[in-house]
Amino acid sequence: MPSPDSGTSAVVRPAAISAQGWGWRHAGRTTQAIHALDLDIRPGERVLLLGPSGAGKSTLLHALAGVLGEEGDDADETGSLLVDGVSPKAQRGRAGLMQQDPETQVVLSRLGDDVAFGAENLCVPREEIWKRVHEALDDVGLRRSAGGSASGNFALDHPTSALSGGQKQRLALAGILAMRPGLILLDEPTANLDPAGVLEVRDAVGRCLDKTGATLVVVEHRVSVWKDLVDRIVVLQPGSSSSTGVSTPAVLLDGDPDTVLAQARDMLTAAGVWVPGYVPATRPRSGTGAGTAAGSGAGSSSAGSGGELLLATQELAVSRERSRRRGFKTIPPLPVQAGLNAEVFAGRALTITGSNGAGKSTFALTLAGLLAPVSGALTAAVGLSDGAGTDPFKWKAQQLISRIGTVFQEPEHQFVTGRVLDELMFGPKHLGHGEERVDELLERLRLRHLVEANPYTLSGGEKRRLSVATVLAAHPRVLVLDEPTFGQDANTWAELASFLSELLDAGTSVVSVTHDQEFSSVLGGAEMRLEPAFQGGARQEAGAA
């Protein structure tokens, strides 16, 4: 069943975008997500969209991809938004969209099938599909037609679940390329990736654009990653038309990257955009714990002066998996890291770094008393345990939260109520004390105007601030954070870093898993670097046998 455009498949026709007074209100909202947008993008242009959260960047990308839903189900569209002069919904496959969460960018379980999925839906003939699949995988560097490479050379039936985050995003890009779209839309494609993954994806996108000449619209907080790849920056601002009646245009600034960044540097930094070469001002550490001390290998963190010892590990081996039963046998999990020795001191930071898959989070969660050690020991000192026993994993949940607080990477995982205020009161209420602290946290983390809101409806930065506040409401002596700065804008980043530096000076111990060197240098303290102890391939084989 050949489709009309399958004959010209080899050539990509770059798409033009034209928005005139365009606005969109989501169903169930009173204000428009994006308002009065006037924007023209020429075919082949590469545009970086900037703006504070709430400026409607994602809404615009979804609209351009034709997946915004129908007007009428209580949603509301004004003005016009056209791709090549036609409504985006009327032309499936003209635009390809990549979103933030790598897990949901994969549709099928085998590499080749996943790339073919979009082309199948566009009724591309079979032989042509496989030609495109090979080409697309080659273009994104997942399968080299000639020889292997460091970044990956996978068989077509390679399981997609075994790919890393960066590889999943490159796979998604291949799936998009196989549709031969004239417009590529990237919605924070690297927000969930480690630095190596970020570059992997950025470079793959660059190569593919050079080859196809397609139009690009990318939304991303980190300007430095994309600046050299784009030829235009558009800054959006939130506009409101309902309450005040004052109507502001959606586009605040528009021009070539250097000009926009020079003109609007102050305004962009104020809006939380990561402008190249800018590190937001943070509160300096005043205590003696400041300054970095390096530890290396899978070894020990350097102990230092000052601060009471709260937690220590001896030859700790960690794994996320529990023992498995196979028939009558119990098989202990294979640890991702073993032989870990670390010490956590009051008023001192410990930063856990290392590449993806090194077991950093697993180690942190074990330190936090949330995972059982596979072997070795985690011991809480008397000053921390306060009569609850030396093994944090055996503590009751309520004993745990007033001693060790953990902030997860995904704030939503930790929400237990339907209201911001209840969320903050939850810990103190169950402990029976500390409710007065909630007020201070509301103020300090700028959550007061949100007390009645549902936690799930907050923006990314607000969710992050709330998740930190809820854990601190129980007043733990040790705070463990898993990638707290992932995907955060510069403002939230600075607030978080300053707040944690304050906590450290007040004697709290802060353990964080992070790729963010600026962040760890603000906190100071010791660094512990983990490298993958077991190769991924070996573990995979063990699972399949």
């Binding site: 549709v107 999925f117 969660l365 939260i401 237990v416």
Partner: protein, 268 residues
């Protein structure tokens, strides 16, 4: 759990057969076994199935690893039937209220073998069939609506993810002071909350996945298929094999005089 469904490294003959043919064969055998409770038909079918194992790339060890809960359940079922059913014939063992007679032993054995004979084809089918290929066959050959089939397939991928998410949410909630300790009602409440958390995440993930699929043009009326689901001569053999095992089970039982429809009363 996410590795359990892949076929990588399995190059056995039956992996190349059409999933639909395998599906029909398994259905035939299961249907026949569901009709009668007797030792002969069950053991005939079981022998036939065991002979097929190498063709599906299964070894006894793999079978035990994947199917041990079913195997133990079948054994326990057989044992309790043997102990508890009404005695008939010579008494073989008598310990207090438990007794095993020739008749009850036969019934118990029949029960156990039947359980195994019904469970094994399912394990056999799973171990030599990739879910993607099954979906291809269901959509292209059985003509089920492709939106439904592919939607289910994509959702299946999320099930594995959700198992990991369940563990993470459990830890995240413990870090908020919601424990799995306490009285049964408290634990139940905690579990309810965790389920809600998982539900929210499942819906988020599912709607993001739906956007991904829609953005790749999914949802239209027509599509082409990168992988053609085809029948080959092998599928004739697969069907024939299913028929032969099913028929052999019935005929052997008839010949031995043990065939007995389940809905008729037991003769003794």
């Amino acid at each position: 759990m996410r590795d359990a469904l892949t076929l990588r490294g399995n190059n056995a003959l039956l992996t190349r057969a059409n999933p639909l043919a395998k599906f029909v064969s398994v259905f035939l055998i299961t249907l026949v076994l569901a009709l009668s409770i007797d030792l002969v038909s069950a053991s005939t079918a079981l022998l036939g199935e065991l002979a097929l194992f190498p063709l599906a790339g299964l070894t006894v060890r793999l079978l035990w690893q994947r199917g041990w809960p079913l195997i133990i359940a079948a054994a326990l079922g057989g044992w309790s039937t043997a102990i508890l059913s009404a005695d008939s014939g010579r008494i073989l063992l008598d310990v207090g209220i438990w007794s095993i007679s020739e008749g009850s032993l036969q019934l118990g054995l029949g029960f156990m073998l039947r359980g195994l004979a019904i469970a094994l084809p399912a394990i056999l089918l799973m171990s030599c069939t990739d879910p993607t290929d099954l979906a291809d066959a269901l959509a292209q050959k059985a003509k089920l609506p492709h939106r439904f089939v592919l939607g289910t397939l994509a959702a299946l991928r999320l099930v594995g993810l959700m198992a990991e998410e369940w563990q993470t949410i459990g830890m995240a909630r413990r870090a908020r002071g919601v424990g799995s300790h306490g009285s049964p009602p408290q634990r139940f409440k905690a579990m309810l909350g965790q389920s809600f958390g998982l539900l929210v995440q499942a819906i988020r993930r599912a709607s993001r996945l739906a956007v991904t699929m829609e953005a790749r043009g999914f949802g239209g009326g027509r599509r082409t298929w990168a992988r053609e689901s085809t029948y080959s001569r092998l599928d004739v053999w697969v069907l024939a094999g299913g028929l032969v095992i099913a028929a052999a089970a019935v005929l052997a039982a008839q010949w031995a005089g043990t065939w007995h429809f389940v809905w008729l009363k037991q003769p003794n």
